[in-house]
Symmetry: C2
Subunit: 450 residues, 2 copies
Amino acid sequence: MIAAALTIARYATAHPATGTYAHLSLEVARALIDTVGVAVAGRLEPVSAIALKYGAGAGATATAQAWGRRDPLPPQAAAFYNGVAGHVLDYDDVSSPLRGHPSIALLPPLVALAQARDLPGAQLVDAYVVGFEILVKLARAMVHEHYAKGWHATTTLGTVAAAVACARLLGLSEMQTVHAIGIAVGQAAGTRGNFGTMAKSFQAGHCAASGLRAALLAELGMDAAIDALDGSQGFMRLYGQHEPLAPVLAGLGIEPPELASSGIEIKKYPLCYATHRSLDGILDLRREHGLTAQDVEAVHIVSNHRGMVPLIHDRPATGLEAKFSMPYAISAALLDGKINFASFKDEAVQRPAIQDLMPRITRHEDEQPTTARWNRLLVRLRGGQILEKEVRQLRGSNDLPLSEDALREKWRDCLQHGGLRPADGEAFFAQALRLERMPVRALMALVPGD
Amino acid sequence: MIAAALTIARYATAHPATGTYAHLSLEVARALIDTVGVAVAGRLEPVSAIALKYGAGAGATATAQAWGRRDPLPPQAAAFYNGVAGHVLDYDDVSSPLRGHPSIALLPPLVALAQARDLPGAQLVDAYVVGFEILVKLARAMVHEHYAKGWHATTTLGTVAAAVACARLLGLSEMQTVHAIGIAVGQAAGTRGNFGTMAKSFQAGHCAASGLRAALLAELGMDAAIDALDGSQGFMRLYGQHEPLAPVLAGLGIEPPELASSGIEIKKYPLCYATHRSLDGILDLRREHGLTAQDVEAVHIVSNHRGMVPLIHDRPATGLEAKFSMPYAISAALLDGKINFASFKDEAVQRPAIQDLMPRITRHEDEQPTTARWNRLLVRLRGGQILEKEVRQLRGSNDLPLSEDALREKWRDCLQHGGLRPADGEAFFAQALRLERMPVRALMALVPGD
């Protein structure tokens, strides 16, 4: 059966000649007169004034940075662009309780806003912590069913959380913050059905811009329903199963912030998460034993139950396939001693040494259902010796944060992949670590771009 | 129990001093470095180029009109503003099968786009017909449960329909149109929980801008899931009950367009719909019999079962209350011979002649459940004579369209309410009726504004 969208598209693009529906033009003309008339009648209403001010002002001045670009953009265009560019590689940070990516929802709007208003980094820190808190709390209440049904949790929950974060950054009052949440609910969207297309990263950009918009409009005086989250026609009902929020919100401001307790997981390698524990393990073994690819006869990887589901390519031929391949990940790590963007060029995948290694990497999943994830490596050396390693923690997670060096290595690799000189990013890296003492505008001016 | 949004707002606005979360600033700094780095890495991806182009270009040039305002806005800001201003009075046109307002979803983006691209009115007509078609077809498939659950059908379905309409106006290809639909699905939002606040008209503006955005991004090359509407994680599943679309789409392009068959209902009076049939009836009786308020001793109105549910004010004291009052509507119609914006000024409601008349207007609802709506009027004159009138059809609906004079009267009243001179709108009114022969840019330049 053809997709409904295609049926609609066929209909919509049929008879493209101007005037196909000329016999209905009076209907449309009357609708036009009536709609314009009613809008003119409504032009003096307070909400119309807000919409106008917003469209003409807040959106228009180019005061924020598209990261890695030289020319500034209006704040919302910057939030949108940075959300898209920051999510398209799926390499941005993750939160397990969210089942999604926290920073891509929060940082593009916060940074754009802080640049536009010339705010100190310390305020951005506070706003991020608050936004992260709400994002994870909402997720704890509802995300399991929500994500399973097909919602893109990063962007649906992210819009609300970004609005709260921006409200905090703007110093909005309690009631303005409530309104920002309601306006955010009126924009929350994003489906997993769009995963695997550009629309996935679009949804991240849209979320970032929507959260910003909600806070800016609340600041201008727009109101919304107070129970937009938990009312009978609110967010929890429409996007969830009407789960109660009180239990997850009870600890707000009392318990340690989610950013301290559950924290952020920074992805260490630019490929599928399901390879990361094994990559840590093989790189450790390589270092600890001074191994080269030559020394290794075979590697066998065992993971927890269903731990390798996304790894569908055992003999990848392209960089894109290699992103979902355990044999490639292990082979490249053994051969090169590192995994970075360069590992996923087609030429890198097609190297004879790699093609020779890959058949010697085997894998299977454990049968016993478990929730905690683990990878176990068995390396048989040419001399017959067997090395073993079990990896449970994920490097980059809250329990095992990336070292400053590892973070710098990723940062430099990102600049390189983006076609910029890694050395030009040193100042930003150093100053960003002092974020709470930096003006955001000055800091972001250090991101190299062309 | 307090609203969750309020709990969140209390948390977010507590400890507003900069540096409350300074102990977590390194976490945020690392997230910032990582997120910016990943975005820089992603900056050369095709979707990032689209986002940049869109933010810098399509959104920035002020080429479209805020209706009733002099200064132009960027197209999306215009679509947003016109959506807000056009919906805030709830006086914009209606479609019964949609359970919502078709033109406010379709015309703000179409007009803004047609102005920006300098397109002929005939193309706008075609695009409107196509957008209306999809809007009503989607509604026929799903709107009953969807609206009942709490979705704002005008804006959820409207975003998709507006995207299709704009795709048609831009002359996008079939596959670009499919992508526009998928991008629209990634933005579809709006809840009835926000009704009664500014966020309701905000949602209309957001819908208009989102539909436009979807088509512009698809034109720039953004893709989305082909089955974003009917896939297992698509629109029909997330926003409906996964109803099949094939049955309602089967007649597309074969059966007469919905605009011809179900058509548009133009609201004739600026108050609750539940009074409209009685208003038509009493104004007809007044005209037919040369009645004045003096002649009338009492009026009794009977409606179909539940036909007067929203009419909660029998003795209104303010204009806002009077919008939901049958006794006021009938009294003002009898006294003034018309109902327009001026009828809902507080002074008009508080006139002694009105306060004297209102107690003589009584009403009740019929007990028999019916679906078709009707109002029956019984007017007892001073002389004892009884006049009767039953009204079934709604004036302004497809079956009984407003006369050109009635439409002009509403148009002029709208200008007046918006603080403009009604006479200045004559040229637009006349030329808009020839829409299919007018360039949209020239036509919209005729809308008066300050």
